[in-house]
């Protein structure tokens, strides 16, 4: 078995007959998508042991949701006095907005976005409210984050042991595309409690940016599942959604990455897309697909070389060659620091 069985189970739960159940469970756990799978498989005839695993996963997902929303509320309370917009991102946003993508979605860190000009005040307020630095102040990582990244160095809460990533845009400043951070904030949508989420089209653009323009595709199977769920919901709610998505992708200089996200989502999860202009699945797309599916039924990573190639690519995209050389040199030669 490989991760293709997992993808099939997510896409079409009824099609999973007698299969390598243990392999499916291990792959789903490794990809951290067991919660979503458990909800998708609800009501399907599965062996008793597997049903018990799914039931526990569904309960665990409810806990993850509670924890994520609580963490958002803690950040809201810490930052409310500043009067700056606080935008929830990724999993926490799906839960806060009750999007379909929330169903079974586990959430690790809390991701928020604030105006760049407010970063210092936001960080100070969080440090004041019990969050702590994980990176040594003024160390290489700390300085690197502050100078070049799209987020502050991660903070962790002293008692709750949960991390927060404070973004001011959606891609590192060293990356070639320059998303319009002001537009992201300006068009964000307020929730009842005063926290905000990105506009639907921007949520997709951010997901695509995170997947293709910033990372090595680790967790890609789950990220694409998010994209599939979101696209279905957004397209059904707004007849003009595809046009908006095209416009926002162009605005943020991420049209190629968004287009690739759509093609891969359709390929893996049969996401219905608009008819016009969608290109066919290319050879490069196949490499991305192979990378996303590089997981076997023991939960092990496969295709070491391909993984490494995508790792190199992620760094290549993140910064210009000379800077990359210096960055890798520093990382390779410094003493291993335990964060």
């Amino acid at each position: 078995m490989n991760a293709r069985l997992l993808v099939r189970a997510l896409r079409d739960p009824a099609s999973v007959g007698d299969c390598d159940w243990s392999g499916l469970i291990s792959a789903a756990r490794a990809e951290q998508i067991i919660g979503s799978l458990a909800f998708r498989m609800e009501g399907q005839p599965v062996p008793a042991r597997i049903e018990a695993i799914f039931e526990a996963a569904r309960r665990d997902a409810a806990y993850s949701r509670t924890q994520a929303l609580w963490e958002a509320e803690m950040a809201r309370r810490a930052l409310a006095p500043l009067g700056v917009p606080v935008v929830l991102m990724k999993g926490t946003a799906f839960h806060a907005a009750d999007y379909d993508a929330r169903i079974g979605r586990s959430v690790g860190d809390l991701d928020i976005m604030v105006p760049r000009a407010s970063l210092d005040a936001v960080e100070a307020a969080l440090l004041d409210a019990g969050w702590e630095r994980m990176k040594e102040a003024e160390g290489y990582d700390d300085v690197y984050y502050r100078r070049w990244m799209h987020e502050l160095p991660p903070l962790i809460h002293r008692t709750r042991d949960r991390m927060i990533d404070v973004h001011h845009t959606i891609l590192p400043l060293t990356a070639r595309p320059t998303p319009d951070a002001e537009a992201l904030l300006a068009d964000s949508v307020a929730l009842e409690n005063g926290l905000r989420i990105l506009a639907p089209a921007d949520i997709i653009v951010h997901a695509a940016a995170h997947l293709f323009a910033d990372g090595d595709l680790a967790g890609g199977l789950r990220n694409l599942w998010d994209i599939d769920r979101l696209l279905r919901e957004f397209a059904a709610a707004d007849p003009d959604f595809w046009g908006k998505l095209r416009a926002r992708a162009r605005l943020h200089q991420l049209d190629h990455d968004v287009a690739r996200a759509l093609r891969l989502a359709r390929r893996l999860y049969a996401t219905p897309l608009e008819k016009r202009g969608s290109r066919s699945f290319s050879l490069t797309d196949r490499l991305f697909e192979a990378r996303i599916l590089a997981r076997n039924g023991w939960g092990q990573e496969r295709r070491k070389l391909l993984r490494f190639a995508f790792y190199v690519r992620s760094h290549w995209l993140r910064m210009p060659p000379l800077m990359l050389a210096r960055h890798l040199w520093t990382k390779a030669t410094r003493k291993p620091a335990r964060s």
Partner: protein
Amino acid sequence: MRHRLDIQIGPVAFRIGSAWKAPLDALEHLYASYPAPEDGLADFTVRLEPERPWRRFIRPSVAIKGDYVLADAAPVSLAHGLLAAEMGMNLQMALGQKRYLLLHAATVEKDGRALIMTGESGAGKSTLAALLGERGWRLMGDEFALLDMASGRLLPFPRAVSLKNKAIAVMEAEVAANRFGPRLDGTPKGAIRHMRPNADAIARMGEGATPALILFPRFGEAEAVRGVGAAEVFMRLTQASTNYVALGREGFDALNRLIAANPALAIDYPDTDSAVGMVEDFWRARAA
């Protein structure tokens, strides 16, 4: 994976894969007479694999992987491969078990009623449970107690008992040699030797029991007994549980019912024989 072994322990089925044969041979010997899962499926998968490909051959070291992993778990030497497998299974339970309320506790059973013993590492619960298991009680588990939240019953998890340091000799004096695994010296916890529970414990691993008494034993002190109030029991058991918070309301209610229905005692004891005597006394008093 190159080698594979499936083991059923109580309600939990493990699939253990390994890059080497030796750890699974040792495991198979230790768990001889345990059934393979009837459905051929696994609740948890454990993987024993080299950290880097060449470490399969050169200075082989076993990384403990699986469905749930600790990011900073140190690899162990191949000679301690059995320990790696045991740690891997424990890790799955501690991090991934969300079906039952899991207490870090030893349990033994008599007449259908269960005695729960919990305490910090080194409190002697494992040894005490193992000894009781040879002296008229059924060993349900030396490490993890599984509380079924709906029924309030405890389910057995009679994995091999992990004996450390001085406890090894105590049990070697009590139990036939063929029930022991190899002695592993120089582990991070000192000397370790695993012991297979007796045939009765294995044959009845599907049979739960209603809890009757909670003990907090402490080894190495003069004999002493003190009643423990419900609030303290609650705090101690939440600390002894790996998944109490994650189970939410259901876990809270189940734990409360457990505490309301059962007396709890903290006992100090100088040696295991006196502890066995104390336990028998409490049990008679509880039954009367």
